[in-house]
């Protein structure tokens, strides 16, 4: 692998890993916020205007930003009956054919979500609820996460192309014990 490409692959993977860890930690904001809301509503009969809305606003970026690094971890569930039955050299061909589909998927979503996000920014869109927070940052979560996912997919493509032995996973990791 040429040094520049190796650097690109390592940087994007590191960036997405960082964002993944950051997103994972968001749960420890969502839970206290919701507990505060539940306690104040049911125990003190004083619901907040912001509790539930803040929790749901964080939810979107939370799971979207987990996606790119999950691709690196091979954590997106797939069907591997055929793969396991075929000799290992087929994996390379499959990977090289599959990653461009992911990039295409991201490209289409980016093309259509970017104008909506820009529009929300121009109008400084808010949610029109009692709390009325700005919602335009949330709208950028889709374009940003598909850009990151496409870049990670490109990195995975390059790893396979330049024969990184770790890029092809024969035995998919077991499904997370949490499902």
């Amino acid at each position: 692998m040429p040094a520049a490409i190796g650097f690109f692959v390592r940087s994007i993977t590191a960036l997405n890993r960082l964002l993944f860890r950051f997103a994972a930690a968001v749960m420890f904001v969502i839970v206290p916020v919701m507990l505060y809301e539940v306690v104040s509503r049911y125990l003190f009969d004083a619901p907040t205007t912001w509790g539930m809305e803040l929790a749901t606003l964080l939810f979107g970026p939370y799971f979207l930003l987990g996606g790119p690094y999950l691709l690196h971890l091979r954590g997106h569930v797939n069907l591997d009956i055929v793969r396991r039955a075929l000799p290992a050299r087929w994996d390379r061909a499959f990977e090289l054919a599959n990653q461009p589909i992911i990039i295409f998927f991201c490209g289409v979503l980016l093309y259509y979500s970017w104008p909506l996000a820009m529009q929300a920014w121009e109008f400084r869109e808010t949610s029109f609820s009692a709390w009325n927070p700005p919602v335009w940052p949330i709208k950028f979560a889709i374009p940003v996460s598909v850009i990151l996912l496409a870049t990670q997919s490109l990195a995975e493509f390059l790893r396979v192309l330049y024969g990184d032995p770790a890029a092809i996973v024969r035995e998919a990791p077991p499904p997370p014990t949490a499902t």
Binding site: G66, V77, N78, V82, N98, F105, A178
Partner: protein, 437 residues
Amino acid sequence: MSPTAILVLMFGGLTLFMLTGLPIAFVLGGLSLLFTVTLWNADAVVILVLQIFDTMRSEALLGIPLYILMASILQRSGVIEDLYAAMEKWFGRVRGGLAVGTVVICVIMAAMTGVVGAAVTAMGVLALPEMLRRRYDPRLATGTICASGTLGILIPPSILTIVYAVTAQVSIGKMLIAGIVPGLILATLYIVYIVGASYLRPGLVPKGASERVPLSEKLRSLRSLALPAILIVLILGSIFFGVATPTEAAAVGVGGAMIAAALRRRLTFDNLSHSAVETLKATSMILWITIGAKAYVSIFTGLGGADTLLNFIRGLDIHPYMVLAVMMLILVFLGTVLDEIGIILLTVPVFLPIVRLLGFDEVWFGVLYAVTIQMGYISPPFGYTLFYIKGTLPPHLGMDTVYRGIVPFFVLQVVGLLICTAFPGLVTWLPRLMIGG
């Protein structure tokens, strides 16, 4: 190109790329968008993006990571170990008792958490070695663990039920509560089978042995039930009486799980960060599939796929129960090859209009769905529980033992499915009693 031709082409493409091992989320999303922008109506993507915004702010779906986090924290809290110890004291001396006790613990865990993996892994680590040491038949031991673990799908709270309810647009609370009775029926079937088999087929389990446990010790062990009982009452109670939404109940559950972990000095930074990472992995996987599935559903219904299918079934002129049986068979078949969340997101939008056309109850259908999904979870070679238990098997046991052990329980699932189909009242009774709903 005619809409039907596009749909046929798309299904071909989906199958092909599914087989190449492209993640399901991107098979669905990528190919649907490809066909949408090239052969159908590119503006439909704008609607899709708006739907993704809705998904991102869905209070119902926010319940998914919360229930997963709760299960993950509980799994590391030591609660399950204590439950197991109590079970061994109470059931250890009865013939087949450890297997029966495993079913009971799995029911309790199913009512505490909404996931399957935690119960199967925990029982694989705790109950399996003890059963093997006491010369239980390894097939019975592994079959019991795999099958009982899947009760988490039926008994509320349940991640898969939430996914179903959101996709089918039925009341999440009702859907969750509807799973209680069928879940208990299945657990009873397992227990009856275990007890029956252990008396009829000597050698399957030991005759019941080991020392007597004094009653005082037995009673003391019940303390371990206190926290699970509180959590179950809190979560199920608030859903049933409509006090809080399932999502709010889940947040309280996470709080409870943290307290449980803290009481046992297990609330460490390491455990929490592991739990958080596991939770994000599972949630992100589920929600990205949801996005892909939305793209697929929009082109499927947009091209009139649903209408074509409905007209076809109207024209068939066969008994509604035949149609139902065919749908169930398709689900069981898909369950052996495909991921369960993918199955729900793919088939519910196709099947639900049919169910409505035939005049079946949607909540009842959802329960039948859950039972067949359970069968997918235990059916070789790709059932999830098989992956979970694989990691806990001692070296002398191979997966063929597990595969054979599963067979009787698979048959019991079919019996359970038939019971729920024949007596819809068993399913619909509890949700009708709910307040508000």
